[in-house]
Amino acid sequence: MAHFTKATSVKDWLNQRLAVEKIEKVMASEYWIPKNINFLWAMGMVLVITFALLVVSGIFLLMYYVPTVDEAFYSVNYTIMREVDFGWLWRHIHGVAASVVFLVIYIHMFTGIYYGSYKKGRELIWVSGMLLFVAFSAEAFSGYMLPWGQMSYWAGMVITNLFAGGSLHADGLVEWIRGDYVPAQAFLGRFFMLHVFLLPLAIMALIGLHFAALRIPHVNNQDGEEIDFDAESKKYLDGDKAGSKVMRFANDFMSKDMMVVGIFLIFFFYLVFWNYSFAMDPVNFDPADGLKTPAHIYPEWYFLWSYEILRPFNIDLGLILFGFAQVIFVLLPWLDRSPNAVPANRRGLFAIWFWVMLSNMIILTAMGKLPPEGVFSQIGLVSAVLFVVQWIALPFITAREKKV
């Protein structure tokens, strides 16, 4: 056994057993962050705070939610919204945070793409981030089933139908996933379990991996500068705080994180109290009815772009391209053949690629919600094809890129 001495303080007692000082250094005070970064680098903390809001509000909702097809809608809309003190508040926070978290994820993702933060040793940050995106998507979808409203039911119907694989007609697989011929009690129970246990667990584990993947390569900076963290941190510790190119994570960068979080929360709570309909679809305030298909079925806004890649084509091609869209982002670090880990605006053609990709995904998002008629379906088709072409073109564009 290790040698223990009589502790001189609580901190010392803990130090001998948990090495708290060392942990604090590794995780906070000597976790070095470059100084040349902007507020987009605070999106990670914004996501942590939003996830915390989701967990806390979710715990309160879980106390009253009843996961049965007969009671679910009532427990949400009557018990939680009317009877439980502040139940409405927790529900609005949960619903709005579930939507806003995707806005921040997309900002975080496109920040990473713009600044090339998936390159040179940072591949695992990117891959774990994309796995988090997948886990959050599954979490959002399973959560959307729980109020058991019209959109829950019909979105559940449509999305599980995708697993039939078009012409493969794997209807058995669809039934196996649903546990029934249509979404019913078995389906609701399963998605409830996924939403409140397995997926949050997976998300927490992936957040751990995401942070761990970041620790050794350090975060990127906005100038694509190669920083010698050892030399710069030594300079900082020797007292030249202003001259060093790096700063501590805590409290230096964390103070800025908190400033951004403060501004974000003003925006967030404005949505929670005054502008929540975008996150809580009116159609889902009608109880699920298997005999009444809603006039328009569409997913939540953050799934619309991939939904629109599925929609313009025949079912088989649509499914293949949909699958392509789901996995292609994960491969970005290998599809980008350029060695330049610098902002997109200094990378020639890639800059165009980036802004076209971003704009095109917004167009896909819009078309995914609109009814597939007339000019909307034509725009959707062109955008979906452009999306695929852009990804196929990426290795060729980036391979020709000159070293900057």
């Binding site: 705080k241 230096d252 919600k369």
Partner: protein, 317 residues
């Protein structure tokens, strides 16, 4: 180094707002074009003829009694009870005919006048009740007692207005129950088509009440084609604009629907919607109040966070 943050913020805000605009206001406008662009006359009922005669409430009373109205309708306030209970009445007519005590305060006068003369026309259900094909509306048209029919109708309307409470004393619940409540339940307010479900001491009595509701609903389903939906959450699922336009003229919003135009005044329509908010958005006042307090708290938090950042970063530059 130049501070790029304002321009970066502008870019982020621009793309976020563009996405929001496209998937919310714009898509909403495309998806719900019909409702958003539906013409609203502000419950003026311009398609109905104006009442040209000045009504006399006293002769109106005689006409109402002798004209046969009270054969089906109760007028509780004048001491005239319903000839049948709600379940039996629904069995006979499809839906329980309303009590007329407050009709004068809740419904538009022009509408009442037209309703008396030609129910299917005023209610806009002529697609369902075509007299030429022998499909008669359960409410019999009034053909007059021999005098000037327009004068007689004006008298009856004047009588109904004279016995009703003042329009400003109509409560949201009264307006809802009178105009909507005989077809639409509101589970969250314990409202059934035959009235509010009382608290029963014995399970047996509670079940007996439920059976009555089911019997009533069976007649209603035969009459309307399907059970009219429960409206507990309609304020959240449909919203004010849809509901107001639907109440004013159901055919404008749901073409061919069996739902009649109920002919409420603009004031009563507002109260109906208020009642639906009381059922499906009960915490709206609390939401405003707590929202304000949370905002104050968060703004103070943001100010402190900003000051902390300034203090920490003073040494870093």
């Amino acid at each position: 180094m130049k501070n790029k943050e304002p321009i970066i913020l502008a870019v982020v805000v621009f793309f976020s707002l563009a996405t929001y605009y496209l998937v919310e206001p714009f898509a909403h406008h495309v998806l719900h074009k019909k409702v958003i662009e539906a013409k609203n006359e502000g419950f003026a009922y311009n398609d109905l003829p104006a009442i040209t005669k000045t009504g006399n409430a006293a002769s109106g009373k005689d006409l109402v009694v002798n004209g046969g109205c009270t054969g089906c309708h109760s007028i509780e306030v004048a001491g005239m009870p319903a000839p049948m209970d709600a379940v039996t009445a629904a069995g006979a007519y499809g839906v329980n005919p309303p009590d007329l005590s407050n009709a004068g305060a809740i419904y538009d006068a022009k509408f009442l006048a037209d309703l008396i003369k030609n129910p299917a026309h005023a209610l806009k259900v002529e697609h369902k009740f075509d007299a030429a094909k022998g499909e008669m509306h359960p409410m019999v048209s009034y053909y007059g007692m021999g005098g000037d029919i327009d004068q007689e109708v004006a008298d009856m309307v004047a009588y109904m207005q004279s016995i009703a409470v003042k329009p400003e004393d109509v409560t949201p619940a009264m307006a809802y129950e009178d105009a909507c409540g005989r077809c639409h339940s509101v589970e969250y307010e314990k409202w059934t088509q035959i009235g509010e479900k009382p608290k029963f001491k014995h399970e047996k009595d509670s079940l007996a009440f439920d059976i009555k509701v089911i019997e009533y609903q069976e007649s209603l389903i035969k009459y309307m084609g399907k059970l009219p939906p429960d409206l507990s959450m309609y304020i959240r699922s449909r919203g004010d604009d849809f509901l107001s336009k639907l109440i004013e003229n159901p055919q404008n919003i749901l073409e061919g629907t069996a739902m009649p135009r109920v002919g409420v005044t603009a004031d009563a329509a507002e109260k109906i919607i208020e009642h639906m908010k009381d059922a499906g958005d009960t915490k709206r006042h609390e939401r405003e109040e707590i929202g304000r307090n949370v905002m104050i708290y968060i703004i103070i938090f943001a100010i402190f966070a900003f000051l902390w950042k300034k203090q920490v970063w003073r040494d870093l530059h």
